[in-house]
Amino acid sequence: MFGRSSSSSTPPPPPPAPSSSAPFAPAPSSSSMQAQKEALMDQVRQETALSNAQALIDKIQDKCYARCITKPSTSLGSSDEACLGRCMDRYMEAFNIVTRTYVERLARERQAEATRFQQE
């Protein structure tokens, strides 16, 4: 749903230390270097996906709380929960529509740019 999926389903190995402060011994063999590279990339992908999910959750919390819980009472009632559930679904749907529109627009602008460039 966030447009990213890790290539492997196994949990990532522990994060490697930052390379600038890694006074590590002998040059790693190329296969272990390859593995370290993949691990680093997987970790970055996971962190991006996580921060994206977090951002979406934060917005949903803001928007749906504001719209559904207008008069906070002593507990979250079942109609509150029903409203929150529907609001979440709609917000994610809106996110998907906005994403699609934006991505398609960028592609069109890029295409127009390329055509203009060719004509010059």
Partner: protein, 83 residues
């Protein structure tokens, strides 16, 4: 001198990967901002049933017109008469 963790080719590959990821993050962040802005503009009811086609249309026009506005402003500033 410390031994670099990755050879030069791998470092370059990682740099390109990170640049792509960063561009991706910037785009995601823009999309979050647009979603919030367009949600406030277009989705005003509070029953949250399935979107009507009008609401869907509003959401995508909201994005398109925002980008048009941005292009318009840049164009107009560029064409302002110089003092």
């Amino acid at each position: 001198m410390s031994t670099p963790r990755f050879d030069e080719a791998t470092q370059k590959e990682l740099q390109q990967f990170l640049d792509r990821e960063q561009a991706n993050m910037r785009m995601q962040s823009t999309i979050h901002t647009f979603t919030e802005m367009c949600w406030d503009k277009c989705i005003t009811g509070s029953s949250f049933g399935r979107f009507s086609s009008k609401e869907e249309q509003c959401l995508s026009s909201c994005v398109e017109r925002f980008l048009d506005t941005s292009l318009f402003i840049v164009k107009r500033i560029r064409n302002l008469p110089r003092e």
